[in-house]
């Protein structure tokens, strides 16, 4: 079970991108209303993109696991859930740091923020079920993962559907030229990092499954 051939070159590319990201962010123009604190956006939004991708990966793989019983799909599901929790945590911490300056408060029980927290908690529940749920908890966890991902469109579009204090989805398409390049550069870096993590994390699950199989063989 060797790593894919693209793994090492991609790791070098991602490391170089993350090394350059602070320079690109520092050189990006300062936004006229929010000034310096707006620069949190270049890591905050991409981390939510990875969170959403992880959640969809978890849900898609969970559907496959529930319908086909594929163990490989289950490996992808737990990987997606972990990504959702880790990158959702970054989003949930960096958001209030921006909000403290922009809104004057750390947190608001606003639709967008509350739904984002609920989705994040769904994936925390997924991981807790997998860790402490005992035998057979995989199926229940899969259902929780699907439920969590179903809420994501509500999180994303809530700013357009309801009156909230969070900036709307129109922010990204209307970014100025200097900001747009930096934003998409950081997003690409985060998405490629996600690809690397998925490769390593799925490999870890495959190894765990192999260890279980070998123990069973040893007992027979």
């Amino acid at each position: 079970m060797a790593m894919p051939r693209w793994f090492v070159p991609l790791t070098v590319v991602v490391a170089a991108m993350f090394a350059y990201a602070p320079i690109s962010i520092a050189n990006a123009p300062i936004e006229s209303t929010m000034l310096l604190v707006q620069k949190i956006f270049y890591f905050h939004v991409p981390s939510w993109f990875v969170m959403f991708s992880g959640a969809f990966l978890c849900a898609g793989a969970s559907v496959r696991y529930l319908t086909k019983g594929s163990r490989e799909a289950d490996h992808y599901a737990i990987t997606g859930a972990e990504l959702a929790v880790v990158f959702g945590l970054i989003g949930l911490i960096t958001g209030p740091l921006w909000g403290r300056k922009a809104w004057g408060v750390w947190w608001q029980w606003d639709v967008k923020l509350t739904l984002a927290l609920v989705v994040w908690l769904s994936f925390v529940a997924y991981l807790l079920l997998r860790r402490f749920g005992g035998p057979g908890s995989e199926k229940l966890a899969a259902a929780v993962g699907i439920f969590g991902a179903v809420n994501i469109p509500f999180v994303y579009y809530s700013v357009n559907w309801w009156r909230t204090i969070h900036p709307k989805t129109s922010v990204v398409p209307t970014l100025g030229p200097g900001m747009r390049g930096t934003f998409w550069f950081c997003t690409l870096a985060f998405m490629l990092l996600m690809v690397l993590i998925v490769a390593v994390r799925v490999r870890l699950e495959r190894h765990r499954a192999l260890v279980t199989d070998l123990y069973l063989e040893l007992e027979d």
């Binding site: 602070p22 000034l35 604190v37 880790v86 960096t94 993590i197 870890l204 192999l210 070998l214 040893l218």
Partner: protein, 101 residues
Amino acid sequence: MVPGRSRWRAVLLWLLLAAGPAAHVSLSAQEQPPKRPAQDEFVPLSELPPQEQLPAAPLLIAAYSVAWIVVGGYLFSIWRRMGRVEQELAEVSRRLQQRRS
């Protein structure tokens, strides 16, 4: 001493004691500028005096530090788990090999 006179003296004393602080409160209220209605008290963040404005740099540094620490910690945890599983895999494979031979 006539009891009626004493009562009147007590009432007069009480009035003097009560009127003193009341007059002070009334005077200090007149000295204060009139309160502005609540709707006029909003001050845009950009117009606040510099000492009341929250510095952005520590928040920005904190946000990027959190991102790096969380990602770094997660990668480290994967690396540790991978090491443990590979060690276990080697051990079980060795035991299985011994049993077969």
